[in-house]
């Protein structure tokens, strides 16, 4: 470090910003490479005698998707009831409590189901993926794969990516049903309408477009979570402490990426 840097704080700030930007761009480039390489191995792997195997994909699906069902169910039901509560409270001012169904239906399918499953899976599986990869990098396991002639992207990244892309939208769909059902239970009890009538109303309000909007987002989140986890996990430095650091970082980055992308997606899709 040149001592002149500390003598001029402004210069050092500029330097730091430059360094962060360069590092950020570097990570984005690496992420893009990972995605394109994953697609390549998925499609061409068999021809290169490096086929992506089904067993690890299913194992990942089990871990990312099936094991997350209980917690997704709990959170989705809670969000559904919470939306109903808030909706009824705020619509009471206009005496329009009955319109709460529209708010809940669109809020859940377009926003809350994909967002809450995305955040949950980023915390649960994104961090696990980053920690696993980080550990593998520091214990030379990734090098070992390479010298055994096994492409690490094909072997480590593709199964997680495929599992995530299949399971996150599936979880979001499940979350849609649970949240709407839980909201329905509360609304029917509070406003004295039957569950059947509530269901009819939901079917009338929610269009295929709304469902597609939500599920497309969760598909995007799936790619983001996996890419962020892999990029962060493989940037590990140092020992166990480093693994802890990249794990935390991947959760923060993952959730930030999800929320920002969500906003941009909604902006592009609704205007």
């Amino acid at each position: 470090m040149a001592p002149s840097g500390s003598a001029r704080p402004a210069l050092r700030v500029a330097e730091d910003i430059g360094r962060w930007t360069a590092r950020g761009l570097d990570s984005i480039g690496f992420g893009a490479t990972l995605i394109s390489q994953s697609l390549y191995w998925l499609l061409m792997g068999r021809r290169r005698r490096q086929a992506v195997r089904a067993a690890p994909v299913f194992a990942e699906m089990m871990e990312i998707g099936i094991r997350a069902i209980p917690i997704v169910t709990l959170l989705s039901a809670t969000i559904g009831v919470m939306l109903a509560l808030q909706g009824i409270y705020s619509l009471k001012a206009f005496g329009a409590e009955r319109q709460v169904t529209i708010g809940v239906a669109l809020g859940v399918t377009r926003e809350f189901a994909p967002l809450i499953t995305g955040i949950l899976v980023a915390g649960r599986s994104g961090s696990a993926l980053a920690a696993r990869l980080g550990t593998m990098v520091i214990s030379n396991e990734v090098d070992a794969l390479r010298v055994m002639g096994v492409n690490p992207v094909r072997y480590l990244v593709v199964p997680s990516l495929v599992a995530m892309v299949v399971m996150l939208p599936s979880l979001a769909l499940w979350s849609d049903f649970v949240a709407l059902f839980a909201a329905g239970l509360y609304i029917s009890a509070d406003l004295g309408i039957t569950l059947g009538a509530y269901g009819q109303e939901i079917l009338r309000v929610v269009s295929v477009d709304d469902m597609r909007h939500g599920l497309l987002k969760s598909l995007l989140f799936a790619v983001l979570i996996t890419t962020v986890a892999i990029v962060d996990g493989s940037s590990v430095e140092g020992g166990a402490e480093g693994v802890g650091r990249v794990t935390t970082r991947s959760v923060v980055h993952g959730i930030t990426a999800i929320v920002l992308t969500d906003m941009l997606f909604v902006f592009a899709a609704t205007r």
Binding site: P3, Q50, S139, V147, M148, G149
Partner: protein, 276 residues
């Protein structure tokens, strides 16, 4: 030793010429050249920071050199595509220092992994081959344990079994005896000698352990601060005139010559980044 002498007329298995490498802006290897002949055990020896691990990583094509050439089994490593490297890697085995076994798989699954990825053998055949290799490294019956349930020496032996599973022509061992007690480490030395004699494997061992190096080596390459100080038989290296080699062999710590100006710069914190 005799085998190495007999086959010295054959093409070398490894041929490194003027290898220069950088880590960031720091030059690590300053033009290293060496050859490894078929059927010999070449020990690459040096202290910490000598560049021996860097040299190994380049031989394994895990890093790309700044300049120079590396020929492995007659092919230029630095110009090979990813797929050519994968094909070449089936002819070589690597036992990493920490074993680098996959912690989520049993020992048996670890050893079978290269077979699973590169062959279409049926499960039964793979298991027999796996047990065969475990027998060789004296780990028979441990195939269903997880790597975390093994001792340090056993992990290294399991790593050897995995390195041997494809019957490679060329075997790399990174610090096979580091961190092991003398009995276990001499067991691994025996194993390396047996692999050369029974299977006529060419073996490259990277180590800083003198005893082990002298016991197994056909030839020794001594690296120090990124330079090849000596390359020759055990006796040639032992009797080498270079004081740096003698310091290394006699475990003498080398005092750095004190440059008053640099010392002052270091104390006042105005020194440049240290170069290794």
């Amino acid at each position: 030793m005799t085998e190495a002498a007999n086959s010295s007329h054959a093409d070398p298995v490894i041929e490194v010429t003027d290898l220069v490498t950088h880590y960031g802006n720091t030059e690590i290897l300053h033009g290293v050249s060496l050859t490894v002949d078929p059927g010999e055990i070449m020990v690459i020896m040096g202290g910490s920071g000598s560049g021996k691990s860097t040299l190994l990583r380049h031989l394994l094509a895990l890093e790309r050199p700044t300049s120079g050439s590396i020929r492995l089994l007659g092919r230029e490593l630095t110009q090979m595509s990813e797929f050519e490297l994968y094909a070449l890697s089936r002819k070589m085995g690597v036992a990493f220092q920490g074993g680098a076994l996959f912690s989520s798989m049993t020992v048996g699954e670890n050893v079978m992994l290269p077979l699973r990825e590169h062959t279409d053998l049926d499960e039964g055949t793979m298991e027999i081959m796996m047990r065969l290799k475990l027998e060789i490294v004296k780990l028979a019956g441990f195939e269903n344990l997880m790597p975390s349930e093994l001792s340090g020496g056993m992990v290294k032996r399991a790593a050897f079994a995995r390195a041997l599973i494809m019957d490679p022509a060329l075997l790399f061992c990174d610090e096979p005896s580091a961190g092991l007690d003398p009995v276990v480490s001499s067991g691994l030395d025996e194993l390396i000698l047996r692999l050369r004699d029974a299977l006529r494997m060419t073996i490259v061992v990277v180590t800083h352990e003198l005893d082990s190096a002298f016991r197994i080596a056909d030839r020794i390459a001594v690296l120090d601060r990124g330079e090849l100080l000596a390359l020759g038989s055990v006796d040639e290296v032992r009797n080498h005139g270079n004081p740096r080699i003698q310091n290394l062999l006699n475990r003498r710590f080398e005092e750095e010559e004190l440059d008053p100006e640099e010392y002052l710069a270091r104390l006042t914190g105005t020194a440049k980044e240290p170069t290794r």
